[in-house]
């Protein structure tokens, strides 16, 4: 098995979620990612150097002696990457960085706008070092536009993108954000796509590319039909809660156990008939009151309570297999615990094991798609802080061991964090 992207080298200055998720997608397909952190400014996802009790995300809640190597947020996004430490504000750090750029295809960063420029590495400067470099810059709102210096994170983008105007139990109860900070992973995924497209462009033209990616623009990609709807019919999107705006019944129903739920969608008349048979209400299937989708829509609330009566004494997984065998779209509302125990995930080997010296065994999700010819697997765990300094500085860049030792003496690199 070969890896799809094994000829690509990416210098990765990105932090937290959006950028690291983008480079994780590429790393899982074989790209060589060299993640750079400064000893006094670790990726915030490594957590505090000396965390307060109850903060961070550590195995069994234990920060341990080296919490920066144990944080789940970091360790889930950096498998298959090389990790080095390098102070880009130090003259020697800048020199080594230049050498790395010269032998790399891509640089990616998601600092606040202008940070890399101030370090002396504008796009023009990077192009001087490597004339066909692909540069991805992804501050919150991009590098242009009247909001370019505004501050935002993945947590605040789905509101500004309009997605949350469609979230909530009802219009009267107001909007509710999705449970994840979607602005981060969607932008990371776009970054990975943009890098691949830019590398194809470069291969054809030999030219460098600057990709200016905005989390807001990325998040709006989910809104296309609603933007058109406003122009065509003058309608702003709204929320219908867990009910669908055309077919019925659809809902989330309580099941046996505490806070256990199942999501059922009846999208056609035949599914409705099948549902009434499967839950033992065959007479409803013949009732003219519920004969088609619009009638069921009118009488949806009574149907929802009837179905809820049936579900509440049953297990969500049993309900799913019963209804699915009758051809009805149905799924358990899975929690994080359920996902780890799920036979379907397990059979598609999504949970791969990665042994990490500081955390023992971790279960990690695999890649979002399966490829027939190339592999995508967890080849090594997320790097400990500065784990690959010797390999990258010595074998890749070709620095002498004296030079590397000096970098460490000067505090330009190392494996122990500085500060809090």
């Amino acid at each position: 098995m070969t890896l799809a992207l094994e000829d690509i080298r990416v210098v990765d200055l990105s932090r937290i979620w959006a950028g690291p998720y983008g480079t994780k997608l590429l790393a899982d397909m074989g790209a060589e990612i060299v993640k750079i952190e400064a000893l006094d400014r670790l990726d915030p996802h490594r957590g505090a150097v000396r965390p307060q009790a109850g903060t961070g995300n550590y195995p069994d809640g234990e920060p341990g002696d080296d919490p920066w190597n144990r944080n789940g947020w970091f360790n889930s996004l950096h498998q298959n990457k090389y990790g080095i430490t390098l102070d880009l504000s130090h003259p020697q750090g800048k020199d080594v960085f230049r050498e790395l750029i010269a032998m790399s295809d891509v640089v990616i960063e998601n600092f606040r706008r202008g940070v890399l420029d101030k370090l002396g590495f504008t796009y023009e400067e990077l192009k001087k070092i490597r004339p066909d470099i692909v540069v991805v810059s992804m501050p919150a709102f991009g590098n242009t536009g009247v909001w370019k210096d505004y501050i935002q994170y993945g947590i605040g983008q789905e509101q500004l993108a309009g997605v949350d105007s469609m979230g909530g139990y009802s219009v009267a109860e107001g909007p509710i954000k999705s449970g994840i900070n979607h602005g981060d992973p969607i932008t990371g995924s776009h970054a990975a796509g943009a890098i691949l497209a830019a590398l194809m462009y470069r291969r054809r033209t030999g030219k460098s590319v600057l990709i200016d990616l905005s989390q807001l623009d990325s998040s709006i990609s989910l809104m296309g039909e609603h933007l058109l709807d406003f122009q065509m019919r003058g309608q702003n999107p709204t929320t219908t809660g867990n009910q669908h705006d055309s077919f019925a019944p659809q809902g989330v129903f309580p099941c046996l156990g505490e806070d256990e739920w199942v999501a059922i969608s009846v999208t056609s008349d035949s599914e409705w008939l099948n549902l009434t048979k499967a839950i033992g209400f065959s007479d409803l299937g013949e009732d003219i009151k519920y004969a088609d989708s619009s009638l069921r829509k009118q009488n949806e609330s009574e149907l929802l309570s009837l179905i809820g009566e049936w579900t509440k004494t049953r297990d969500k997984f049993d309900i799913t297999s019963t209804l699915q065998s009758s051809g009805i779209p149905c799924a358990p509302v899975m929690t994080n615990e359920d996902i780890y125990d799920d036979p379907h995930y397990q059979s598609r080997s999504l949970m791969e094991i990665s042994d990490h010296p500081s955390t023992d065994i971790q279960l990690l999700p695999g890649v979002g798609w399966k490829m027939s010819k190339t592999t995508s697997e967890i080849r090594w765990h997320a790097p400990m802080l500065g784990q690959h300094n010797e390999f990258i500085f010595g074998e890749l860049v070709g620095l002498s061991s004296d030079f590397i030792a000096n970098l460490i003496d000067e505090g330009v690199s190392g494996t122990e964090p500085v500060g809090a």
Binding site: G61, S76, L227, P254, Q324, N336, W369, M371
Partner: protein
């Protein structure tokens, strides 16, 4: 730059067409092969004018820009041999399909057959749960995928039922992941001559996006639903304002700046400064905040906060987006026909010359069947009469 890259798109619905839209908007030549009556999204409400019309679905108009449409019934012997002829002639880098596990195998359009026609063509199969595993034949709609991938269990109020998240987020994410696999193969195809089969599951695509959240299990805890609260810590949640809703956040600027923004000296008390102890004072703080918020408009609140380095946001609607200075200033939108569409989220120089609206049903039948495959006028008429195209 993708103009000499052809894609044959057999997919229907949302995820597959969104995948190929990303490619067609980058300039790839996407030939959409639809059943003679039109693919299912042509019949998805609402329509932009009047009654049911396969050329007027708003969802379809968004998902199919810059594509060509031909009609073809793959499940008839003639249609089947015609699509093979199309693959032979067009030599696509990619075929994208979403019929579900084993459907194409049964009609002899499996990956091995495709490979034997054209060795470097890759096949992307998009399905709800993937082509293997115990759930492979399960049916699912948007809500079911959000439920099974974990998103619903953390969306909504803790004391109410789990809630679906806005937009067709699960299906669009799945299409996005499929497009990434497509770009990977196109990149590889520049150096190798042998295609790949990719098995994209919407459930997994969505779980991948959630994985950070999933690691909550490291602390042995179930992740909670937080309702209007965005994260632990206070304030980080949605509040009503005079003309809508805003998300309030007291960082990275200081608490004093928040008090100043809200013209509320009573908020500027030292015991409120420390983030970790601030939740204790929720009952004192909240009325002071809502008092000011409900007297001001979302945009003024947002800009005022941002000037003080407070990462507020507001709940935008479609009009807000279309009127946004930021988006206009960045040339985010594309004008296609009479309408404004969201631009590609990443722009590569010279990707496309002129954007085209979603095609009418079978709009390119003549171009493809007559000009490209060289069928005669009579052949086309009889195929049409037999409802093969």
């Amino acid at each position: 730059m993708f103009k000499d890259i052809s894609v044959i798109d057999l997919s229907t619905g949302i995820a597959g067409p969104y995948c190929t839209k990303i490619l067609s908007d980058l300039g790839a030549n996407v030939i959409k092969v639809e059943p003679p009556e039109g693919e299912i999204t042509r019949f998805s409400e609402p329509y932009y004018s009047g009654d049911v019309d396969p050329n007027k679905s708003i969802k379809f108009s968004f998902l199919n820009t810059n594509k060509k449409s031909i009609t073809l019934d793959l499940f008839t012997p003639k249609g089947n041999s015609l699509v093979k002829n199309l693959i032979r002639t067009v030599k696509p880098y990619l075929i994208v399909e979403s019929y579900g596990p084993e459907v194409l195998d049964k009609i002899g359009l499996d990956f091995n057959t495709i490979k034997s026609i054209n060795g470097f063509t890759s096949l992307i199969s998009i399905s709800n749960f993937g082509s293997t595993g115990p759930y492979r034949s399960y049916k699912a709609h948007e809500m079911n995928i959000q439920a099974i991938s974990g998103l619903m269990s953390i969306t909504g109020e803790p004391d109410l039922e789990p809630l679906i998240a806005g937009a067709d987020i699960a299906q669009l994410n799945g299409g996005q992941v499929a497009a990434l696999s497509a770009l990977t193969y196109m990149f590889q195809a520049m150096t190798t001559s042998s295609g790949t089969h990719s098995d994209v599951s919407l459930m997994e695509a969505n779980m991948d996006l959630l994985e950070n959240w999933m690691l909550g299990q490291f602390q042995g805890e179930l992740m909670p639903r937080r309702g209007k609260q965005h994260q632990s810590g206070f304030p980080s949640e949605v509040y009503p304002c005079a003309d809508g809703y805003v998300s309030v956040n007291a960082s990275p600027g200081s608490w004093s700046e928040l008090a100043e923004l809200m013209e509320a000296p009573d908020l500027d008390r030292e015991e409120y400064y420390e983030r970790s102890s601030r939740p204790k004072y929720r009952d004192q703080i909240e009325p002071l905040m809502t008092d000011w918020l409900t007297q001001n408009n979302k945009r003024e609140i947002f800009h005022g906060a941002q000037k003080r380095r407070l990462a507020f946001s507001y709940i935008a609607n479609a009009r807000d987006l279309l009127e946004s200075d930021q988006l206009t200033d960045r040339n985010f939108f594309s004008t296609i026909g009479p309408n404004t569409h969201p631009g590609t989220p990443f722009k590569i120089r010279s990707s496309i010359a002129e954007n085209k609206e979603a095609p009418g049903l079978g709009e390119h039948n003549q171009e493809i069947y007559k000009d490209l495959l060289g069928l005669s006028k009579d052949d086309i008429l009889s195929l049409s009469a037999e409802k093969v195209i």
